[in-house]
């Protein structure tokens, strides 16, 4: 079976990636697993300036999920270049740089400055981080803005450009279509859901920033519904994520119309999850005699 996934000008060796913010830049996990089997490593978000991130605690468990409020903590562009690029050059799997910011210029700056780096396979544009105050709603909630930003970024690099969608919108298909019109090579969804937990003993929200992003098994059905709808609204590939902890979940995403998937929170729980998911996808393909990833899309209308 051909496991490869074509996205724009690039090809991923297999459909199972690891999600931004849950896998660092790879080095953190290299002692635990073989990075060469990873289909795509989506880095922690990179912003133009360094960001210390939010106050603590930054993580709290919820029923079958977790809330995080990391706040795009990263070393900034300069730090990324000196501290991370040399490592990415040695990485045995494709590296997708997750790009973030509070305004369009931020995104443009990151891609412009990194566009020449051969060790970067492509971009994932995080328009949806609910942790950073961009004056209210996330950038990725308005189709017009998304289309404009996408076409601006499109001109800066010929590497695969993936727009990451937030589920916290009325109509995620409208945002996906805007990304497609703007020239995106793919969309990935979903980012975290806005959530909150209150400590009734301390009488305050657990997260100092009050709300955070909900991820993990709890959101699997939400991610699946989003991918199902988005895959029917655009013709570019869809990268599905949200709540995947086992092969069956990843297969659900592929059946729903995804061309690739990402594993996020589950990396924290089982470092071998990636291998298990990849094996499970292959076994499913053999069982149903599927030759390539698009063959997964034939079953569900």
């Amino acid at each position: 079976m051909d496991l490869s996934v074509r996205i724009g000008s690039g090809t991923l060796p297999n459909p199972v990636g690891v999600a931004s913010g849950t896998f660092g830049y790879g080095s953190e996990y290299e002692k635990l697993i073989d990075l060469s089997i990873i289909g795509a490593l989506y880095t922690k978000a990179v912003t133009p300036e360094p960001r210390p991130g939010n106050a603590t605690p930054r993580i709290i468990e919820t029923a079958a999920g977790m809330l995080n409020s990391i706040g795009l903590a990263n070393n900034g562009l300069a730090g990324f270049k000196t501290a991370k690029i040399p490592y990415l050059r040695t990485l045995p799997c494709p590296a997708v740089v997750n790009v973030a910011g509070s305004k369009g210029d931020d995104y443009a700056k990151v891609i412009e400055e990194l566009a020449g780096e051969d060790c970067i396979w492509g971009w994932e544009v995080n328009l949806s981080c609910p942790n950073v105050k961009t004056g209210g709603l996330a950038l990725g909630t308005d189709p017009t803005e998304v289309e404009q930003l996408t076409s601006r970024l499109r001109k800066l690099s010929s590497k695969p450009l993936i727009i990451k969608l937030t589920p916290n919108v009325t109509d995620i298909t409208a945002i996906a279509r805007a990304a497609e019109s703007g020239g995106a090579d793919a969309v990935s969804c979903i980012n975290t859901l806005v959530g909150m937990v209150i400590d009734t003993k301390a009488l305050r929200p657990v997260l100092p920033g009050k709300t955070g992003g909900l991820s993990g098994p709890a959101i699997l059905p939400v991610g699946l519904a989003a991918v199902y709808r988005v895959a029917r609204a655009v013709t570019i590939p869809v990268v599905g994520l949200g709540g995947i902890t086992e092969a069956d979940h990843a297969i659900q995403y592929l059946l729903a119309g995804a061309h690739a998937i990402q594993i996020g929170t589950a990396n924290f729980i089982d470092p071998t999850v990636h291998q298990k998911v990849l094996d499970g996808i292959q076994a499913f393909a053999v069982l149903h005699n599927l030759q390539s990833i698009p063959d997964f899309h034939q079953f569900i209308e």
């Binding site: 635990l32 210390p52 903590a73 098994p217």
Partner: protein, 258 residues
């Protein structure tokens, strides 16, 4: 650091709400050092979801066994109390940096409170085998929280309680201050316990101009340095340091105590 699926050897109560869990230690796995920790998974399903971190309280290469001491608090630790010998035990370990050796000529003073007792017992046993053994001071709210059964005869130990129901009356840091004054030694402090105790220990170290090491706690996601979830505020260039990577043991002067 390794992903180890080992088995439980023993899981016994050692004080009220406190348990010691011993696990088999495979020969290929790196040896845990005092101050290092593991993260464990209690169930296969999605609740509790995240791995839970626990400091090593002992390691015996000869017996091929490592141990932790844990307090029953919420869902995961309650499930842990049901673990039986030969139950599989899924851990990532050893994680974090561990305690440094004392500086030459310094007397190690080990101060433990509550769930901080595990790593201090481990460190105390280690130091007892060196030319610079320490004093271990264990503080608890009252008598029933003192883990008498796990204390080692080879370690000089002082027990104290807030209510005076056992050992000396007072906080572990207060007793440490008294001991140091009495011994007239140049101390090096090692602390693990509640945040307030660590801050008081740091203040004592400043007072005495002594080096001091604190094992910090923070809610964790990955525990391998990837998620930036477990940070504490530190002085210096970076505003935050990760407990799971730069810690859990920090020079108390690098921490921003608030």
């Amino acid at each position: 650091m390794a992903h180890i699926v080992t088995s439980v050897l023993e899981n016994r109560p050692v004080a009220q709400d406190y348990y010691e869990l011993r696990m088999a230690w495979p020969s290929w796995a790196p040896a845990p050092q005092p101050g290092q920790f593991l993260t464990l998974r209690t169930v296969d399903g999605p609740v509790p979801l995240l791995r839970r971190p626990f400091a090593f309280s002992g390691f015996d290469r000869a017996d091929s066994a490592a141990s932790i001491i844990y307090q029953r608090r919420g869902h995961a630790t309650t499930l842990m109390t049901a673990k039986r010998p030969f139950d599989p035990f899924d851990i990532l370990a050893p994680l974090g940096n561990g305690f440094p050796d004392p500086k030459s000529g310094r007397r190690p003073i080990l101060i433990a409170g509550g769930i901080g007792m595990g790593p201090m017992l481990f460190l105390a046993e280690r130091l007892a085998q060196t030319p610079y053994p320490g004093i271990l001071i264990i503080g608890a709210r009252s008598a029933q929280y003192l883990p008498r059964v796990v204390l080692s005869r080879s370690v000089q130990t002082i027990l104290c309680t807030d209510d005076g129901s056992a050992g000396r009356k007072g906080t572990a840091v207060d007793i440490a201050r008294e001991e140091i004054r009495q011994e007239g030694c140049a101390p090096e402090l090692y602390l693990c316990g509640p945040h307030g105790m660590l801050a008081a220990g740091h203040a004592l170290a400043e007072e005495l101009d002594a080096p001091s090491w604190v094992a910090m706690e923070q809610t964790m996601g990955c525990a391998v340095g990837a998620c930036m979830g477990c940070v504490v505020r530190v002085h210096g260039g970076e505003e935050y340091a990760r407990v799971c990577m730069e810690g859990p043991v920090f020079d108390s002067r690098t921490i921003i105590w608030t």
